[in-house]
Symmetry: D2
């Protein structure tokens, strides 16, 4: 098929060419005396992306799901009570994992299209005088519905209740793209993965933990070995790993962290907001609605767009790929067939967003959606071009 493929799923994201090049290399000895020259700065720089100052970060050869399991099995014990909420496929899977790993899960079901119910969390925490709740879980960005929740507000609720529960955040599709402040917000376990904001292939799970979580891990009694903190800490401290790490991905991560530092986290967040806003203007231009119920839930990394009645979202996604070589995200679970998703995170710019919107227009038109050609991409063009004065470019 002529032309390059167009990838607009909410992860894996597009890999910067510098990262791609860096991973195109022969294998190396992960026990070499010089290996820590690679790894130690990576640990340090990765912590910075989480804005974690006093804790540490773990890099697992796994998906983000593995990092979820690492967080839970190292820091909590079977039977521990945890407070969770469910409003999309990924918050659902996290709840499912917690249940299967033997926790006593207090789950609050919310409407899909909304996010973490901070007020209900606050109530539960206030009511929990005996501090039976050991951990509170927040899905910062629900990838299935394009909903972002307010992590800082949950911290405030914990503080208001003077509750000692640990704060767990799923930041798989947010960290590195949307504002996240582990230290400031008192997040104890923050989970992410390589294939989203970190602009790498899948294969690394990141877990950034607070000093408090490390302390908690000393007495947690879950059985684990592969994901065990202790082996990691012992070997990581000198720059090594307890088993063979994916050196190719580490070389890519080195470059990705350099790119992140070069652009600057604040600039990256601003860029994601700008690009997301362009997508939202396009959705309005088409006369369609987002799955996210209110602006406060709008995600800057992924938009789930509700299709008109009678249009099959699965066919939209399939047609986009078959006809226009463009990958969009399908609706999952409760919203299967009803939405399609545009991922707009990672290594992305205005022109790429416009190509996604153009492909979406052609695809929707072919699938029977009534919309004016150019109404979406034109709105984005209009928004993007106003973002800066020409003076800068001169």
């Amino acid at each position: 098929m002529a032309g390059h493929s167009h990838l607009f799923i909410p992860g894996p994201t597009n890999i910067p060419d510098e990262v791609r090049r860096a991973m195109n290399l022969p294998m190396e000895d992960m026990r070499a005396w010089s290996f820590p020259e690679l790894t130690l700065p990576i640990f340090s720089d990765l912590k910075s992306v989480f804005r974690n100052e006093t804790g540490r970060v773990f890099i697992y050869p796994s998906s983000g799901t593995g990092a979820w399991e690492a967080a839970m099995t190292n820091v909590l014990s079977p039977g521990d009570r945890v407070l969770m909420s469910r409003f999309g496929q990924f918050s659902h899977l996290w709840v499912d994992m917690a249940e299967r790993l033997g926790f006593d899960v207090d789950v609050i079901d919310c409407e899909w299209g909304t996010g973490v119910p901070v007020e209900l969390y606050a109530e539960r925490l206030m009511a929990d005088r005996e501090h039976r709740i050991k951990a509170v879980f927040v899905t910062q960005n629900e990838t299935a519905t394009g909903v972002t929740s307010d992590v800082a507000a949950v911290r405030r609720a914990l503080d208001a209740a003077r509750h000692p529960a640990l704060l767990f955040v799923d930041g798989v599709s947010s960290i590195g793209s949307i504002d996240f402040r582990q230290e400031e917000w008192g997040v104890d376990c923050a989970v992410s993965g390589s294939q989203k904001g970190f602009m790498l292939p899948a294969g690394l799970g990141f877990l950034s933990v607070s000093a408090k979580a490390l302390e908690a891990a000393r007495t947690a009694r879950h059985m684990r070995c592969y994901f065990s903190f202790e082996d990691m800490i012992r070997t990581n401290d000198t720059g090594y790993f307890p088993y063979t790490p994916p050196t190719q991905l580490l070389r890519g991560l080195r470059v990705a962290l350099d790119l992140i530092a070069e652009e600057g986290l604040d600039n990256i967040h601003a860029r994601h907001h700008r690009l997301a806003e362009g997508v939202r203007r396009a959705v309005s231009g088409w006369g369609l609605k987002l799955c996210a119920k209110e602006p406060k839930w709008h995600s800057d990394t992924v938009s789930a767009i509700v299709l008109p009645e009678g249009i099959d979202g699965a066919q939209v996604v399939r047609h986009g790929l078959v006809r226009y070589n463009t990958a969009f995200g399908a609706g999952l679970a409760k919203v299967a067939g009803k939405v399609f998703r545009i991922g707009h995170l990672g290594s992305l710019d205005e022109v790429m967003v416009c190509s996604a919107l153009s492909a979406a227009e052609m695809t929707m038109l072919d699938c029977g959606v009534k919309l004016k050609p150019g109404s979406g991409v034109g709105a984005a063009v209009d928004f993007f071009r106003n973002q800066q004065s020409l003076a800068k470019a001169a």
Copy 2:
């Protein structure tokens, strides 16, 4: 800079990922006994792209300009009279080369935005009873103005005049993208390069010659060595080269020829026409005009777009690159500052064209062009989506 770069110059073009991968390899021995297993099929398949059946093709480690020189110095002798026309920077450079290489050049200057003046050629040929004109030159696609000329018509003019002159065609930015039929049209020397329709990096000059040109070369008296047919023929016949060839590019060429065969030349030409038409609809949507004066001159590989008075084309091109990471072609020579060019050839699809048009809209808006956001890309979206029924995609 986040996101990938966007390349819409009329060459070098975007390299398909398969080709890129194929060139990412260690060096090899170009005198190995097995080397002809690579090269002999390449010669044969490359000839097919030129639709050259009875002649042969040369692959020079050079740019397309080198292949021009090879054509002239092997087939003609200093002092030979040649008929040429000039209506853009590249036809101009070809005339310049002919003059510097000592030919007696009869050049017809035409308005930029038009192409080869077939009627004037016909007159000149009719008038040349003594057959002093040894060769007639046609720039099939003038890259500077986005003008395609009618090669078949020049053949008809030659035939009508029963003139034995050789027919030289510059197909650098057309062959492999726009219909070209060496055998049918009786083209004696057809020149191209790796970095356009062949979807490779620059570095290879292609020269496809007829049996008649090979015969003429036996008696031509130009001094040459690097580009000499005889050394090439002697070594190529067994699959080798007279000097070290760029094996990396040959490996890429192998894959590019496979991709061309897989899509099919007719389909490739149809795709280029469709994509070019989308660009032309966008230009109309913007209320702008092409440099090409009439539809018959429209090029399916590059569009030169005339900017409104007061807008500096050089700034448009620069701003596109600096602000939107998008490379357009600048106006050259007579049209410098007045036009900017969108290359739409090689490995390209509808979505990429839409990204070019979106980038062009944002860039022009920023530079002060008055146009309705979405008016161009929307017209293209509307055109592209109508190109096929949904049934196909099911």
Copy 3:
């Protein structure tokens, strides 16, 4: 540093260029309708490498260690009695994992340089009339000492005792390189990883299981989620994964499996034996000894070479890397400082082995080992050149 790096550790191994190229690609949608076209044949072909006919194979985004954990937590329950043996760092780590995961481990400690004590296993199994032993563990290739154990003999011992225990094999540094026959030998869980005989970067853990193990997994009660068979089975059956798989590695695996099929497993095993024998001839030529106590323990994938008294193995390994850009394996744990290891598995040929031996000679000479220059590599040259008649090459 001029020249390419020389990698002779027992994994990660050298990646074939075809595999390297295949992994140099943009990201793709792991939920695309066409994704199973990639994955389903991979599952099938991977099973063939294990010579597993009636079971199934799991591909985890993890190291081989993760596949160990997957095997134990899916098929066994906490408190289950398992029979293990320990004679090197990797068999030690496996025992350690079993203990940490809550099994009742009956571990037999053997001298390092020997392997699985089949006779003792046979005694234990005979004595276990009540079949309290639920699983018997065999490290087919102990990477730390270069010792290969006899898996088939353990199967015979199980059969002789009519014992129903499951048979677990660590084949991380053997499968794909040394003869392994899951079906014939009745192996229930066979563990491997991408970075050894499979010639890929680290990042994939392979677990090939028998029908019997799948049946056992239905009632096993270990807590697990990331490594859970059930999620994998449900999604793998249609060609997908329960979480984002490393598509880049899967693309590489596709090519690696093609290369394995092309060479043929029997030929691959013969090549590994031939190359290993060349290394052993070199060790004799140097007047040194292997860590493996007897020829029956000789490993065809890695040789641990005992250094003379007074020579520091750590310095040998470091000097090899610093001065000759050549990575050897260091001695680990009990044999730290006493041996150095040459990995000779994966994508390797005679010339590469000779380069390893030459580097080893220079390194050892520099470090004070008394040996005749050329005595080792010459022995290998002599051995390799006799391996085939010249007739073949004509």
Copy 4:
């Protein structure tokens, strides 16, 4: 075929991984305003490798042969008398080109295995009172026989005769590897190519010229266009090229020049001498002789090894490639079948040389050469390990 390929021809040479990675990239706009940021430092750094201070360097999209033609056609005029010598296939080809390009060639034929006859040159120059000789040609390194000539001595001969002739040097297989000092030795045209000491794929011809040669070019009357200095100078001065340059190779050249600067030219020359000496020790160890007649002719970049009577060199080269995946250079022209050549230039280290020697031993043994296994590679090991004290490595 398992294992990587082994390339020991005298060019193309092995590409450093950093260079390979740098060339694995999308295409770019060679007319971008930022393009000179790439090219201008390249011109400057490339000049440094030639140790050319007051002249300039040209980069042609061509092989080294193209740079030969560029040198002759820009600086000399048809009919000019030139003094050349011929003692191998490449000096022969240069003479052939000079004749075909219409010069009055005074060629001195020397025995193959010797080099430029400085005394005879001195005589000719002394005798040429009228300064009819316009240029003197020196093949610094004759790749076919492994012979290095004394450029400085030719300069001394010119000076002694107070002769104003220009000095042309073919440094294709020497510059960047063997000491070369354009300014100090008063070389007017020095020719090289990308695929030898510059560690790149073939595709770029380098021509480094003195101010005197540039001056001569103003009045030279050869017809040329592709290779014309004037177009190059005009465009290069601002960082551009007269036609599309191979940007991929320029990106690789950037990295290659960085690697050369990092190692340092003097260190590179010393390394080439050390590695070549190791090869020569091996040849002695085998009881064989070099094609080069005396030590003063020994080349540090390639060794042509004379095979015993009755052994067919072509079969040796073919067998090396077929059986051991190792490419050696065949004997060419007068020495065809009598020698085989080991290229030892570019990105190379001791271990790679040992692998070449091991492969050569196995190949020669298989082909019937009587030699003691290990006698060659052992001699090299012994030589290399003595090259430095252990202290350095600690």
